[in-house]
Amino acid sequence: MRAFPLEIVLESVANGLLTGAVYGLVALGLTLVYGVLHIINFAHGALLTLAMYAAWVAWSAFGLDPYLAILPLVPIFFALGYAVQRFVIGPASRGDDSNILLVTLGLSIVVENAMLAVFRSDTLSVQVPYAMEVIEVGPMLLSFPRVIGFGVAFVVAAVLFVILTLTDTGRAIRAVAKERTGAALVGIDVNHVYAVTFGIGAACLAVAACLLLPSFYVNPRVGNAFVLVAFTIVVLGGMGSVPGALLGGLVIGVVESLSGLYFGDSLGQLGIFVIFILVLLFRPTGLFGAKA
């Protein structure tokens, strides 16, 4: 293993934290859906790919800056997520775990390959003036889009927290997550709450997609790179735990960045998978101790 000067290691950690916050945002949607619906949504990565293409189209066809594209894309993806849960996943699941597994797998296959058919396998990216800008923090140079991503990810998490704790919808979501039958008995429309939760998860993805696009690229398989990362974060942070997802995101961001620094980019991904397998095998309730 090579020794690097301290500044480079620090910079790598900082960049890892910045990327990790956006990973956390991706994982937030996944963990919320898991916590409330108790389903593992395999289509999460494909929905992220779809959102990234949507942001790319907004930029290339309408000249919309990816950050501004957040405004129209959030309601669109909320509606999309709502509809997918209400009309596809919900009816197909019939309360069977393996059905949900297969339906969300089917969804991801459809979305991913529809993108492949429409946009082909070329890698696309947006050209924005600030893509290469850096911000100097002490000895470190931080990429501007990543700093923005970091900030917005925390804002979104805060907004989500407020929605969940202070609004009626949020209370209903938490009630359904804790005790579905009880919630139904006091008059909460459980299927509606499920669909709203799924919609919020998809809206988180829309934000994450817009944050990623300026410093990243999009191709039909890009979601795959994120979905295992997101699953890793979710199991690491404890299934269904919102703060766990953010914290897990930061940890995974740093791990990826450091293993990329020491082992090269292709093996860098390996660190994440190995952590994922180890956590699943030995600590499936997550490192931060949320109950399974």
């Binding site: 009816p91 197909a92 597994l101 969804l107 529809a114 292709s266 699943l280 095998l281």
Partner: protein, 315 residues
Amino acid sequence: MTAKDLLPIAIFAILAALLPVFVTAGTWLNFAVFTLILCLAAQGWNILGGYGGQYSFGHAAFFGTGAYVAAILQTRLGINPYPGFLAGIAAAAVIGWIIGFLSFRSGLRGSYFALVTLAFAEVFRVLANAAEFTGGAAGLLIKLDVRPENFQFASRGVFFWVALGLVTVVLVITRALERSRLGAQLVAVRENEDAARALGVDVFRVKLSAITLSAGITGAAGALYAQYFLYLDSSIAYGTWISVEALLAPIIGGAGTVFGPVIGGIILHSLSEFTKSLVGRIPGVDLVIFGVLLILVVRFPPRDIPGVIRAWRKR
């Protein structure tokens, strides 16, 4: 197992074996061989997923291991392809045993098992892409040397018979499993794991046997793929495509039935060829249809196409 159990398998094998007599066009035989390789991989998935109810999303780990071991033994070490083929099967079975041991020991079920198998397959893919002895990103080319004793045949028809032979052997194995004690215990685990355990079934051992057998069969499909196409890279051998197709074929054709994976494999590949002839070479369209088919099949029970036909005829 009685003669009556084996009769449908014999009829299938004899009818299918006649195919190369009537069809001599290279593209069609190519299609048929590729379909049989997929059927074989799917038959492997069916043992664990169909009979055992343990849905793996990472059968690429076994397919790829079978393929790479068979290919590496002959290209790097000059070992004859026939023992190399068997070694590929054995290696895949060992990998299956290890993954099974780790995940079943930790009590992973349902979605968690699916996730961990997916992650294992990805680890193998990244490793095979980075390592030197696998040819890295450039892939691995098996030298063209067409001699029967070298497991390479001048006629595609011969290869078709080899593939058909393997599929038939696995049909018999699956039927035998169905009639065996292990098969009954496996189905019991699928239906209700806790009840099976309460009745004294050694759940861990049963699942472990199933994944080992399952991995070996899918590994055979991988080794056969390497031997037929003579080229491998990490995204072919350990790619998600094979995990998905190995799962889709039995689900669509009837999971937990002897002929399910074969029926599903034929449906899938015919559909994919048909769409290609319809829309031309637009990538992804056939997979969109697979995905829609998967959603529909799960949405409207009974969950597989033979079941849909049965239900329709009863009306």
